[in-house]
């Protein structure tokens, strides 16, 4: 009984001790977000969220952040790495709980998504100021323009090319890269034998498939998936032709292409299982190490186009959104983004992933720090080719001067890729798969 009495006295005290820190901890743990303001003479805290997870990218970003923080004693930037697979779920939760970052890296359709939560702060003045100084490429900044305002500061671009293994081509007696759809099919067929496949194409339900299919669509003038009245125009003859091509090419792609995203075609390409792939510049950096072949064996060419087609590729930029209303933080974020775009820093920033991140300012395209990187220098011709994609590259939902906010519902669900799966996995005829895709796209944007 004595023990029991003692416990009756001690228990409330124990519970209080356990609960009090939990009750009082709310305000102190905000490592980032809107609540982390400057107090007194303390530097302004700016939290950056990005989805560039590979350690090499994080390391380069950190180097630039450290240099910026050292040069700006009144601002303290910190980076927090996020996952593309989770960011669509995480950012609305963060915004609702007011723990969103001050700067968020985004791509155009994701920027639309974030904008619809009401948290995005226009960066029009900053973009115009930076544009007058560095001159952004139109294809990089236009997709971020809505209702007379810019939603993000463009930072780096992406474009696709046809990658091919020169050694495997030579073994097959093919001397040049294909330039037309017919040549592409013929070469893929010739390069397919034994355990080797002509081309590694993604056909999984993912962005990699969306992008590769779309690149081929652009070469066939099928880049607009919206009509002028903002309804879906995906179901057209040119898209069907592109699907027919893709279906034929998939016969020369490894049998598990239906599960391929970004990494699998690259692995197949590097280990010699596949002789071609259509992708962005991430193929340059690891090629010699992963393939065991010299750099000269990595070939690149424009994406082949059909008769009567046009040069084409998907092209989009990654931009930085500002999600804080605190003017001090807005100014600090602007200062940091301006710092990144200075040519002497910009090259270093882009070379966080050499060959993949492409310059999208005029002075950035001539930045010596960019071109002097060993990987970029080694594959200079390919990088130049990808940079040139910005002239004719397209992005679905952002063509013909249209900026469709609803495109996020199409890209978010990978509806182009799902249409490919209907054709490749469920064995619908290309025309039926395109019709299926068109119907689900229309349904998605109407709901």
């Amino acid at each position: 009984m004595k023990v029991l009495k003692r416990w009756r006295i001690l228990a409330p005290a124990l519970i209080s001790v356990l609960l009090l820190p939990a009750c009082s901890g709310g305000g102190s743990a905000s490592s980032g977000g809107a609540s982390a303001g400057s107090v007194g003479g303390a530097p302004t805290q700016v939290v950056l969220w990005h989805m560039e997870q590979p350690p090499n990218r994080v390391k380069v970003f950190q180097g630039l952040i450290d240099a910026f923080n050292k040069a700006h004693s009144d601002v303290q930037v910190t980076q927090q790495v996020q996952d593309w697979n989770q960011i669509y779920a995480k950012i609305p939760a963060a915004i609702q709980s007011q723990t969103q970052p001050d700067i968020l890296f985004a791509i155009p359709d994701f920027a639309s998504y974030v904008n619809s939560t009401g948290a995005a702060q226009p960066v029009t003045a900053l973009v115009k100021q930076l544009d007058s100084k560095h001159h952004f490429l139109a294809a990089a900044k236009d997709p971020y323009y809505r209702n007379d305002q810019y939603l993000a500061v463009p930072l780096y671009g992406f474009g696709q090319v046809l990658w091919y293994r020169k050694d495997l081509f030579a073994k097959a007696g093919i001397m040049t890269a294909p330039t037309t759809w017919d040549e592409l099919q013929a070469d893929a067929a010739k390069l397919t034998h034994g355990s080797q496949y002509g081309i590694a194409l993604p056909a999984g339900k993912n962005l990699a498939t969306d992008q590769t299919v779309y690149s081929l669509m652009t070469t066939n003038h099928a880049e607009s998936i919206y009509s002028n009245d903002n309804t879906i125009s995906f179901n057209n003859e040119r898209t069907v032709q592109t699907f027919e091509l893709y279906n034929k090419l998939l016969q020369y792609s490894p049998p598990d292409s239906a599960n391929y995203g970004w990494s699998e075609p690259q692995a197949a390409f590097n280990n010699g299982t596949a002789a071609m792939a259509i992708e962005k510049g991430q193929y340059t950096s690891p090629f010699t190490k992963e393939s065991g072949r010299p750099a000269r064996d990595l070939g690149c060419a424009r994406i082949p186009q059909p008769s009567g087609g046009q040069p084409g590729s998907i092209y989009y930029s990654n931009g930085a959104m500002i999600l804080t209303k605190d003017q001090k933080k807005v100014a600090a974020a602007g200062e940091f983004l301006s710092y990144l775009l200075e040519p002497e820093n910009y090259g270093t920033f882009l070379n966080a992933e050499p060959g993949l991140f492409l310059p999208l300012t005029q002075d950035g395209q001539t930045s010596s720090t960019f071109w002097s990187n060993p990987v970029v220098a080694q594959y200079k011709q390919c990088v130049q080719l990808m940079v040139s994609q910005s002239q004719y590259g397209k992005l679905f939902g952002f063509t013909n001067g249209q900026y469709q906010d609803s495109v996020g519902k199409i890209s978010g669900q990978n509806l182009i890729a799902q249409s490919i799966q209907q054709m490749f996995v469920s064995h619908l005829a290309p025309a039926n798969a395109v019709k299926w895709g068109s119907d689900v796209m229309q349904k998605a944007i109407t709901r």
């Binding site: 999984g204 339900k205 049998p255 197949a268 299982t273 709901r447």
Partner: protein
Amino acid sequence: MTVGHEPGHFGPQLSPETTQLTTGRRAPSLTRSKMIQRVHGHGFAYLLLAPLLLVLLVVLAYPLAETFRLSVLDVGIIGSPSRFVGLRTFAHVAQDPEFWAAVRRSVYWLLGNMVIQTVFSFTVALLMSRGGWLADKARILVMFPWVIPSVAVAIIWQWMLNSDHGVIVHLLTTFHIMSSPSSPFAHPQAALPVLIFINSWHWFPLGTIIIFGAIQTIPEEIIEAARVDGAGDWRMFWSITLPLISPAMFALGLVGTLWGFNVFDTIYIITKGGPSDASTTAPVYVFNQAFQAFQASQAAAASVLILILLSVFAILYIRFARPKSMM
């Protein structure tokens, strides 16, 4: 159950509640003063439970209420403006063939997992209970799949079944079981069964430990008496082991079903519900609606419908599958 011995009675003394549970007979009703006395007597216990109940209220009741609220609005992206639409979203989900296809896949997933995990768990638990050096070592080794985080499990199997580097695919091709290297996750007929196997491999140790624990509680004298009566292994299993561990099996069946139905991580990491929605189970459907189609209310309504389905299952399961010893 209160433990106490009376002269001439060596078994545990049962409380009135336990008597009711085990015999079906109603214990004498408590008087009001006794009830108050009992509550008062348990005051300290309630006090200790209060923080836990408070936490449960915050982490369970609030999200549940919020999900109900979301389901009667027309929220697209979470946090965007919305209006009240009543039960319209429920009607929309109920008429969506993709939702019911996902539920069907979840039932298939559940049954597959139940069968495989039960076979694995029982087999390993029975082998472990036989004793010996190998059984002793197996008690530790069998835990390994369970302690590996789901993300790691998903990635390990994804790579083992990768067509380029996967050791399993390589072996299957080498021994001509597979004509050309190909991952099962690229084939709609194979994806879900293989995922079921992976999930069963991951979780069967839990069932093994529970069944093994239950087997250990079977009194030795009952086993010896059955042996004396000439019962063989098969008869022992059906007439002694299975009935005596049925309470543990009942609990495992209920919890395992509810957990199993809601598995999301392994499926999403490996196939994202593909190819061509072949592995889109109900939880994956909900996730896709919320964060890919940006239809938060539809996801919430689907969640509520799934909650109702699972609740109905749980009630029926408790009503009809409860072992006689727990009636």
